[in-house]
Subunit: 130 residues, 2 copies
DNA sequence: ATATATGTTATATTTGTAATATAACATAAA
DNA sequence: TTTATGTTATATTACAAATATAACATATAT
């Protein structure tokens, strides 16, 4: 499995899980319809509690990235990821505003930012097998 | 004062404070050397506890945005904001990666993102008096 | 001198979240 | 009938956010 948890991080474990699954989908390492490990399996692989995995799965289901079936298990939504709506875009802007304010003050101008963003897009596109 | 706290938000109050002060500096509503309200004054204006304001101030001092003097009070760092270093840039990229992954999946492509970012830069430049 | 205002320190309490630990449940599939 | 799935329930531990009070040290104003 591609999951790697940093137990020193101040990012909660269930958030790290959500992030890595979303990144996995974006990198196409996980395709619509693909199955994810059971909550017990992933929990024991990583060495964490089943409820922590369940929390991540449930929140990704709530957002529309995953489909959870009581007996069959968990799969990547076959209909593809949820699309951005007004609410999502509004929240995104509210998140970006203070980030960009700080970034600007710290001397990272728009050009620098765009180059960082390009770098991240490359990370998401290239790594087909890693 | 320009501070407006959303008590419904899941963003902690002290984080909202930090964000709004940084945005204030970026918009040049607050200039280097400008004085901020005392912890007690701001706390009572907003209707929160003095320690919550103090926590925000201390963390901004720690980052280099503010100078705190035991008797004179709190001012915006006269030497200007702290500049980005390697650590900051690394953390920034780690924050952006999952954001951009989700955004991409949701159908917001690079062009859309750049237009959102431009919109935010405008917000930071225009509002000289509001 | 005295009072005032500053940030600071200390202690305690309440509330909520993250994470874990155990156990049991319902049910499709083997 | 067994196994594996997610689900639900209960409890516990650890920590963070926010508050409440009180006292402290000290530069500045009166």
């Amino acid at each position: 499995m591609f999951i790697q948890i940093n137990f020193e991080s101040d990012v909660p474990i269930y958030e790290q899980l959500k992030n890595q699954i979303i990144i996995g989908i974006a990198k196409k390492e996980l395709a619509p319809g693909d199955r994810l490990p059971s909550v017990r399996k992933l929990a024991s692989d990583i060495g964490i509690n089943l409820h922590t995995v369940n929390k991540a799965y449930k929140q990704l289901e709530e957002k529309g990235f995953l489909i959870i079936h009581r007996q069959k298990g968990v799969i990547i939504n076959p209909d593809g990821p949820p699309q951005a709506d007004e609410t999502y875009t509004k929240t995104l802007k509210e998140t970006l505003l203070p980030m960009i304010a700080e970034l600007e003050l710290r001397g990272i101008d728009k050009i620098n930012l765009l180059s960082i963003i390009n770098e991240i897009y490359e990370q998401l596109e290239v790594d087909r097998d890693e």
